[in-house]
Symmetry: C2
Subunit: 319 residues, 2 copies
């Protein structure tokens, strides 16, 4: 064992997050990026895949589909999923434009499950938005082109990615739906399927609660700032609700990025999920080639493929 480097330092291999952090160093020793569309010639590590990616392998977040939630600890960036929940997305944007969320609070944190925010009193006016909407749990599969994983899934006949979002599909039913992976954001509801609408939002902070798939409307995912939400003190009340109002964490504001001056935006881009580079990234996560790994997993869960994000154009910069 290296005496100056405790075992812990090299103990567990980086996730994509660490891979992105290492991008700068990795890029220096990496081969010249392949032209877009050219699959890598030999298996690469996740860091090597990202280091060799071309600018066209990434897409910038669209400010018209991006939310900024400002917490006392910093900014959470959420990409909205119009592909799965167009009406809920439009409604949450209307709520944000009406400043509905400003001054509301995170009021629930249930370990290994969800963090949730909204109006604890349920009395705040919603302006031009709607309080409830018809559910958007699923969408037609017909006509949908998505990046399918070859790996078997416990819950669904097919899984994969659509424009950065994890998805499941059942050809027999002709239906597709967004999947409750870590960081996915949904619209809380009451018992009635149509009782949600986006006035209460939650984010997955633990093992993917796939039993919620097709039972709640998912409308986005956290692209940056998850680490601000996942550390919220767990509530001691039933379902992880905070028992005292002073335990709630205030939301300073929740804005559509397009409504924020350009200079104040977080200029992020995410790895496209319909490219050979993404396929190589999935392959690198399926069978890790880093020296530390001894037994390749041979498979990968749809929720174990976090889609990389980075500061836009930062081809050799840390996230």
């Amino acid at each position: 064992m290296k005496p100056t480097l405790p075992a812990a330092r090299a103990t567990l291999l980086p996730l994509w997050y660490a891979a992105v952090l290492c991008l700068s160093a990795a890029a220096r020793g990496a081969p010249a990026p392949s032209p877009p569309g050219t699959p890598p010639k030999k298996p690469l590590t996740t860091a090597e895949v990202l280091a060799a990616s071309a600018p066209s392998d990434w897409r910038a977040l669209d400010p018209a589909d991006t939310l900024y939630m400002e917490l006392p600890s910093g900014r959470v960036v959420i990409e909205l999923a119009r592909q799965f929940a167009p009406r809920h997305v439009a409604n949450v944007i209307a709520l944000a434009r009406g400043h509905y969320f400003d001054g509301l609070a995170i009021m629930r944190a249930q370990d290994n499950y969800v963090v949730q925010w909204g109006d604890a009193e349920g009395k705040k006016p919603i302006g031009e938005a709607q309080r409830t909407l018809a559910a958007e749990f699923e969408r037609p599969l017909r006509g949908l082109t998505f990046t399918r994983l070859a790996d078997p899934d416990t819950y669904a006949p097919q899984v994969g990615f659509l424009e950065g979002f994890p998805l499941a599909a059942d050809p027999a039913l002709g239906r597709a739906w967004a999947v409750h992976c870590y960081g996915m954001v949904g619209a809380g509801r009451d018992n009635d399927v149509d009782s949600g609408g986006g006035t209460e939002l939650y984010v997955v902070i633990g093992q993917a609660p796939r039993h919620l798939d097709r039972n709640v409307t998912l409308l986005g995912r956290v692209v940056s700032g998850m680490e601000l939400l996942s550390v919220m003190p767990r509530g001691s009340g039933s379902l992880g609700f905070y028992e005292h109002a002073e335990q709630r964490v205030p939301i300073q504001s929740l804005r559509l990025a397009a409504d924020v001056p350009a200079a104040q935006r977080t200029d992020l881009e995410v790895l496209r999920t319909d490219t050979p580079t993404f396929a190589a990234y999935v392959a690198a996560r399926r069978n890790r080639l880093e020296e530390w790994f001894k037994v390749p997993a041979g498979h990968v869960d749809v929720c174990n493929v976090p889609v990389p994000a980075r500061v836009r154009g930062a081809s050799a910069a840390a996230k």
Copy 2:
């Protein structure tokens, strides 16, 4: 929508944790407990399964196989997995008895991955214990009787439970291994397979990193106090290490429960995983019957079946 009850209150259904919290209320309206060994006659909810459980469906934690890690925020209870890693378990007990961990610290928290603790300087004497051990990544499957899940798994031919621990198995290889579910505790190592030994420990705090299975020795799981570990501020250094010593969270002590006076122990029991009651619990998690759920999942992941724990003998008391 109930005006006095915001939608959020009933938004997402309880995990087992909430089910246990609800035990008191559920028990009042529940049928008389079935005799041990009698499967429930109709499908039940998780809360109903637990409310109807018999005392013999539970087993007390053995103080000789239980660790208490005392943090400034409270006690973490870890059950050790002799079934999978007898040498590592013995070594960690030797380290605890030598007070090795006392005054060390949590020094790494990587979002959606692991929290890790040990000796950041790598210099603390280990007394009678050993610094490294031969890996215990797998064990023979032969002769092993475990509770197998019928559900397909992405990573392994078979999955199930052995005495409270999630496990995977491959009959073709004749091997079985513990699975990296949320709350599982392992021994960090360097690149060499035999470079771990328990002086650095980590716990899974996110989506099950199943690619670590058979690559690290798992030696226990957190039975109580996970919410103290999962909220650790994420480290800003590479791999989530804290960049400054003052960010580390001190470990006041780590003791074998048997070495703690009986009056100071946390008297927990966990649901046995080899009973009809556990089978009913799994079935209840596979297809939720609570009114809130509209589309049953039909399947359950081995890491979506947290094994319930409660204060010993608390058949009608909250955890």
